[in-house]
Symmetry: C2
Amino acid sequence: MSNCIFCDIVNGNCDAAFVHRDDSVSVFMDIQPVNAGHMLIIPNTHAAFLADLEPNTGAKMFRVAQKMAEALRASGLKCEGVNLFLADGEAAMQEVFHVHLHVFPRFEGDGFGLTFADTYLTKPPWSELEGAAKMISTAIERSALADEDERQR
Amino acid sequence: MSNCIFCDIVNGNCDAAFVHRDDSVSVFMDIQPVNAGHMLIIPNTHAAFLADLEPNTGAKMFRVAQKMAEALRASGLKCEGVNLFLADGEAAMQEVFHVHLHVFPRFEGDGFGLTFADTYLTKPPWSELEGAAKMISTAIERSALADEDERQR
């Protein structure tokens, strides 16, 4: 047993209802489903956060998510739509610190929903959107420059 | 102008605060952000639903999402965590019918949350999880067999 329940599942030290496993990712049922059919897609190799996740494995997770969404719709389980959800960090509601992508079926009146701050319906001025875009773009450029420095060392 | 607002954005027929664009995907600010820094990642080529999305482009969207999450955390915008969210189908709360992956920063007390049906806290029996897993696995196998038939034709 490790101190990560999802590593235990991957390693066969903890039971799970599996849907799929391959060299890089595993898919099993969430034990507390939003709706019947709720799956978790995880990397087989431990990665606590998105920042720790090998990008090829992340890309694979999304490929598998697309297949799982297709399968949910064809499964006979009640499924009129599908949500993908990922929580990165405790402030984002992450509870198990091994990256996991939720894939769950939706149907009208299923009781699942999102809640927002009171300010949500007030659209921000354009300058604020442009300002946020600029801050993020600058962070991307800094990161690219740091990667370049790293390669040249 | 097309009848798809996101196609109009990609084609430069509608303004957006862009963060990134390349050959296959575009990233711009959501005009109604959950929190400042809320981005949408979309395929440049129109795809209404996950089922219409070219899998390599889907994989690329997740790669870009990982980079955007990193950039958000480094941007100076308030960001203690990050959520990824995708709605596939109207019953899953999709509002614009061109696939889009939400990436937004989170922080404690930001007022964003999830709501669930009253039955959510009742964990289903193991047999129910195994049953759902079996239904989904069967759908995956059927789809793989259909693909195989298609190839042999």
